[in-house]
């Protein structure tokens, strides 16, 4: 399940992480929600951890991306260099297009 052929967002696309705070198991860190980053690559397609965590595996795999965020976009007081970045793996249903 690691083909990297198709996904909604090509490398370089600007995406915003959805702002959502579900009560269950998710793999989208709180600190990046609502923030804009750039798709670094499509990692492939994997089953949804939000379902697997509850023992359900009977669903289609989701596209998984690595998204690059600039540190200074995430943290107002970021003290490092301007180009410093964080890359996070995010499933497609957490992403929406951004300008």
């Amino acid at each position: 399940m690691t083909d990297s052929s198709d996904g909604a967002f090509p490398p370089g696309a600007r995406v915003r992480v959805r702002r959502a705070h579900p009560p269950g198991h998710v793999r989208t860190p709180h600190y990046c929600r609502g923030h804009i980053g750039e798709v670094e690559r499509l990692c492939g397609h994997f089953r949804n951890p939000e379902e697997l965590a509850y023992g359900r595996a009977d669903h289609a795999p989701l596209a998984l991306y690595r998204v690059r965020f600039r540190q200074r976009d995430l943290w107002p007081d970021y003290a490092g260099a301007v180009d410093d970045s964080v890359e996070i793996e995010l499933y497609e249903h957490w992403l929406e297009p951004a300008r």
């Binding site: 702002r19 198991h25 609502g34 923030h35 697997l52 965590a53 023992g55 976009d73 107002p76």
Partner: protein, 146 residues
């Protein structure tokens, strides 16, 4: 309004996260929808580089999970389920337990949920293991290695 402090971390425009807050502010985290295991960006102290030597039961716990997560056994316990169980322990227990204590606690709960093990047999066996250890502590646990 202390209870709302953390919700300021996220701005509709995606403005930068607010100043890091105290991880002990459990109510603030609840209102912000941030779960306690999701700690990226929180205030925290210096990195402690002391290393404990892994014990036999920790190697065993690690191996139990790998065996239960293998496809040929279902999997009986997926890594995602392991994580979900750990996250559901709540902040007090999560931060009190060591890493592999969280693992075996979560694995065991999932095995009970799935009917692989019963609460009663676990209660009896844990007592038996501890009694065995008390009578000959030098032997350590059975099935352990290293």
């Amino acid at each position: 309004m202390n209870r709302m402090t953390e919700s300021d971390n996220e701005h509709p425009s995606g403005a930068p996260n607010a100043a890091p807050h105290d991880p002990s502010d459990i109510r603030g985290a609840i209102e912000a929808g941030r779960r306690h295991h999701d700690m990226g960006g929180l205030n925290a102290g210096p990195i402690d580089r002391d290393q404990h030597g892994h014990e036999a039961w920790e190697h065993k716990t690690d191996a139990i999970l790998r065996l239960l997560a293998a496809k040929e056994r279902g999997p009986l316990v997926r890594v995602d389920e392991l994580r979900r169980g750990i996250e559901e322990m709540g902040p007090g227990v999560y931060d009190t337990l060591t890493y592999y204590e969280r693992w075996i606690g979560s694995i065991t709960n999932i095995l009970v949920e799935k009917g692989v093990l019963t609460v009663d047999e676990l209660g009896r066996r844990i007592e038996a293991v501890r009694a065995r250890h008390a009578s000959s502590p030098a032997d350590g646990p059975e099935e352990g290695t290293q």
